[in-house]
Amino acid sequence: MIVAATINTTAVVVFAVILAITLGITYWASKRASSTAQFYAAGRGITGSQNGLAISGDYLSAASFLGIAGLIYLYGFDGFLYSIGFLVAFLTVMFLLAERMRNAGKYTIADVLAFRLRERPARVAAAIGTLNVAAFYLIAQMVGAGVLIEKLVGINFTLSVLITGTFMLCYVVFGGMVATTWVQIVKAVLLMVGIVVMSIFVLNKVGFNPIELFNRAEAAGKAEDSTFSLGPGTFLKNPIDTVSLGLALVLGTAGLPHILMRFFTVPNAKAARSSVVTAMFIIGFFYLLTTVIGFGARAILGQKGVEAAGKGGNLAAPNLAENLGGGAGTTGGDLFLAVIAGIAFATILAVVAGLVLSASSAVAHDVWSSIIRKGQNSDHEEVVAAKVAALSIGAIAMAIAILGGEGLNISFMVGLAFAIAASANFPALLLALTWPRFNTVGAVTGVLTGVISALGLIIISPIVWGGAPGAPDTGAFTWYDLNNPGLISIPLGFLGCFLGTVLSTERETERSFHELYVRSETGLGAERAVAR
């Protein structure tokens, strides 16, 4: 069924170089991944600026790089809306969670909840939230990896997923957070260099005048059948759905376990907040340049390039690189395409490694050590459990990606991950840190309401049924037309937390609030960096 494309030798060489660098990092890190503090949190010895780079590497997925550039190429303004949401979300993270997480937590989101709530239910709830988000995000990234590598390098989908999964597991199992962090840093640097060089090439064509780029993109966007527009409404056609998406984007990041986990790797709250600001600069600059790439692709490739850009325009950026390098078949074109493909590959690897690490920490630290073994196991046993968990999670994600194949809708799963993060994890975390009355029942009801409502609403959404609301052959509901559940599920998540709390009689958690509150605001008693 899968037609074997010709293998792009230059791309294979670039991939090999990237894999060699990351395996070198893993070998170096493997000597330092023996304790839980090293395995989950890199001994809390990552500096603020290193962590800022690592957050960028953890956050900027292939969906950001190829997906947004592709959407801007196809639809113009509406694609850029994702860039804005993904960036502004970091203000939510900084103002509400970053420092508090660092001061109050140890390795996982659950640590913050378990600090003041009844431990076992709190950890189960947090683990459900974490695993749901990580699972959907991970499968989406794996499928994305398979599709892209298949197209860019010419090896088939199954093999692409297997390669990605195997290397991801290598970093996590042998190198833990230390290797994952440095893979993310290397990826962030590669990605920034790649997008800056591409942008310079594009801007060079318009005399470094951005307005001229806008004009040329617009002119090219006037072609027949073009969906490109400098104004909104070409991709996001349902206004209320746009608002719902915007809300899930700005609050979702603050509930992503692999991003929050990064704050446990720095020595103190000061480094946590400076890392957010560093990440804001890098991520902001990156998203600004997505416009240059998207508009550049529109101006240079034009409407003729739409078919070659594939579904969602994901291949617009690599195709643009090929064109900028001199065109298909030229040495420069092949090389530029291979480098951008390699960067996209590194991008995926760094994100999936972070996701697997956060999921395995939830399984090993929260479920295995705290719930099953009740804290009686050794530190070493927990590290082993985390590695086993990582292997299992990785294997399951690879299996689902391969079985589901290219038919799995990537943007729908990423949207779902953000919706669950914003509706389940974010309300419970925020309220645990700020609301004295909040209790265990509230946390459990809130997380469950958030997860179930986000999942349920996605299942009945038009995107799943493959048509417009009420379309006769698809079975989509006529009365529900939101593809993004955030507008309903986020308030439901908060409502679940609130009602669960006020309707239950549990009051002991108000006493434990004092310690968590003082600790999260001042850092007194916070986890220390491991002395080397």
Partner: protein, 147 residues
Amino acid sequence: MAEPLAPTGESHAARTDDAPHREIDWEAIEASAEFQELVRTRRSFVVPATIFFLTWYMGFIVLTAYAEDFMSERVYEGLTVGYCLALSQFVMVLVLGIMYLRRADRVYDPLAAKAIERWTYLDTDEARAGQAEERRFVTARSEVPSR
């Protein structure tokens, strides 16, 4: 509040091993003027800033959703109102980020240090090590020899 909250005998290993909470009077710190000042000062920036950025951002989203024509209007050649507002979000993120960073370093950190000044001696590595030793000793005595 060192005691486990629920009388269920659940493990609180994650807390008791690491947090020096037995000797520290958390409620006294919370009630202290210094802590209250820290919280008040921080909130006086974070709350308005959060309201502002959410309003500016969601305002942009709502305009994108419901005011297509306005957002598509030209400011200068190919530059639309929508793109200008989108770019203003970048400026907002960087300005608020840097403002918060500077305030935190100059104002909040010193205030936090003052609020916990009297207690930090209980939170040194030595104090923590001492506590851990003491606990291990107690555990060893109270347990039946296990090997």
